[in-house]
């Protein structure tokens, strides 16, 4: 007889017994010893039919192919740039992925991206040894001028973006602030200073209460109240 020992969507900790019996299958973040399935990390248990997996709630960003991230130029190399990405691994932007312009041999690369510049870029490849290749070719990929960059918990980024970007669009529309959300937990904002502050507050609120249902309405109310205060 197979039996689930923990309810769906419960918080589980490493080593915790999740289910007994061969009718359940271990997936991401879980493992089997003999008949038992146990948790291999801290997170939210998700029961998907027979499959048990864990959605992480904490942990650093690890680069993944196809992610759009915000990086900061940390070094300029002979034919490209090295970017720090709020993760254990740095990313490399090669010259031919950097711009559609023609870059003359031996020219000063800091003309394009200087040390300390923030860039929205897309990861094109991650090797087994976590060497990260990024590109600037794609819609919305650019250098970020002005504004400010804040750091959030990477595991909350999907909440901040919302379904099909609904959450972040709502903040953008309400405050008129330009926002770029990187999957690595860096968020760039640019707009009027007091509006930027409201947008940051809203994002912090999502980060803190991201798990509650009816979050969209809550953030909507929060924004309307804040904007009323400002216009008063």
């Amino acid at each position: 007889m197979s039996e689930l020992k923990v309810s769906d969507k419960a918080i589980v900790v490493p080593g915790e017994l999740l289910a007994q019996g061969m009718d359940f299958l271990p997936s991401f973040g879980t493992y089997r010893i003999k008949e038992d399935i146990r948790a291999a990390r801290l997170g939210l248990l998700k029961v998907d039919g027979k499959v048990l997996k864990i959605i992480p709630l904490s942990g650093r960003y690890i680069p993944k192919r196809g992610d759009t991230i915000i990086g900061q130029v940390s070094d300029i190399m002979i034919a490209g740039w090295r970017l720090s990405t709020n993760s254990p691994y740095e990313a490399v932007l090669g010259m031919k992925d950097a711009t559609s312009e023609f870059i003359e041999r031996g020219s000063d690369l800091s003309k394009y991206y200087a040390l300390g510049d923030y860039i929205v870029t897309k990861i094109i490849n991650v090797t087994s040894q976590k060497l990260v290749d990024i590109t600037m070719r794609g819609p919305g990929l650019r250098k970020l001028l002005g504004g400010r960059v804040i750091e959030v918990n990477t595991n909350k980024v999907p909440r901040i973006i919302g379904k099909l970007g609904s959450m972040v669009s709502m903040i953008k529309d309400a405050t008129g602030v330009k926002i770029v959300v990187g999957q690595n937990g860096l968020i760039w904002l640019e707009g009027e200073a007091h509006m930027e502050n409201i947008a940051v507050e809203a994002i912090r609120k999502i980060e803190k209460e991201g798990h509650l249902s009816g979050l969209t309405d809550k953030i909507k109310d929060f924004l309307t109240n804040k904007l009323k205060e400002v216009t008063k």
């Binding site: 969507k9 419960a10 918080i11 900790v13 490493p14 080593g15 915790e16 017994l17 973040g29 493992y31 010893i33 146990r38 291999a40 990390r41 801290l42 997170g43 939210l44 998700k46 959605i55 992480p56 709630l57 904490s58 942990g59 650093r60 690890i62 992610d67 759009t68 254990p88 691994y89 740095e90 087994s128 040894q129 976590k130 595991n155 980024v157 999907p158 909440r159 973006i161 919302g162 379904k163 099909l164 970007g165 609904s166 959450m167 999957q183 991201g210 798990h211 509650l212 249902s213």
Partner: protein
């Protein structure tokens, strides 16, 4: 003076001192925990995985675990503890590392390091065990892949009694033989990851003492579990959020 009852008033020889555990006590660390057992307090902070330098220390096959055990200058009961690494601290850092490594799987993070800093503001024996308990909560809090938590406790023999969780007074008992055995184990499988001994004890008694340690470790595991669940309380039951784009 014969040893007939616990010096600190505990009812039984297998009683633990009061334990308090808390996860996420240092907001700027990637994971952190407090573990207090009696008058021994351990803080563990985890940073990483992060880039490892110097580069020759990197391992391309897996991430590296690096532990540091540190008694604060004012932590002891007697003289000021001289700060900085010493022979004892190095040994304990090493055994802590070896006690934690079997549960951790850092193969997804090649060339990186996970740093664990264990700081003890107050000690009254059992500090390496408190450090291991705190570190394992902190590592789980940091979201690292690990197959189990590690629970640790000191057992031993004072005079002719088998004792669990010795305090300093018991450890320093002079009118009879004393054995002090720090033990760390994985609660789910009962495997030992730390077994040291200071003093002497008969083989049969050692086995009995280890049985006592097992019960104690299961109790500690429950406390560690509760500490972690307490931190993430309120996050259960949420829907999965939106797409990322």
């Amino acid at each position: 003076m014969a040893y007939t009852k616990r010096f600190d008033g505990r009812k039984s020889f297998s009683d633990l001192r009061p334990i308090e555990a808390k996860a996420g006590v240092v907001p700027r660390a990637h994971g952190s925990a407090l573990f207090r057992i009696g008058n021994t307090i351990a803080y563990a902070t985890v940073y990483g995985p992060r880039e490892l330098h110097p580069k020759f220390m990197q391992n391309p096959k897996t991430g590296v675990l690096r532990c540091s055990y540190n008694m604060m200058p004012f932590s002891g009961a007697g003289e000021r503890v001289k700060p900085g690494p010493n022979r004892r601290a190095k040994e304990i850092s090493l055994v802590t590392e070896k006690a934690l490594l079997p549960v951790l799987d850092l193969s997804d993070y090649p060339n990186t390091v996970v740093d664990v800093f264990i700081d003890l503001p107050q000690t009254d024996a059992g500090s390496r065990c408190a450090g291991i308990c705190a570190a394992s909560i902190a590592l789980a809090d940091a979201g690292l892949p690990m197959k189990d938590l590690v629970a640790a406790i000191a057992v031993g023999k004072v005079d002719d009694k088998l004792v669990v969780d010795l305090d300093y007074q018991e450890e320093a008992y002079e009118d009879g033989p004393v054995a002090d055995i720090p033990v760390a184990m994985l609660p789910s499988t009962g495997e030992y990851t730390l077994l040291q001994m200071d003093g002497d004890i008969h083989k049969d008694e050692l086995y009995k003492a280890l049985e006592l340690a097992k019960d104690a470790c299961n109790k500690i595991y429950e406390i560690q579990k509760t500490a972690l669940k307490e931190k993430y309380k309120g996050q259960e039951g949420g829907d999965e959020g939106g797409d990322v784009e």
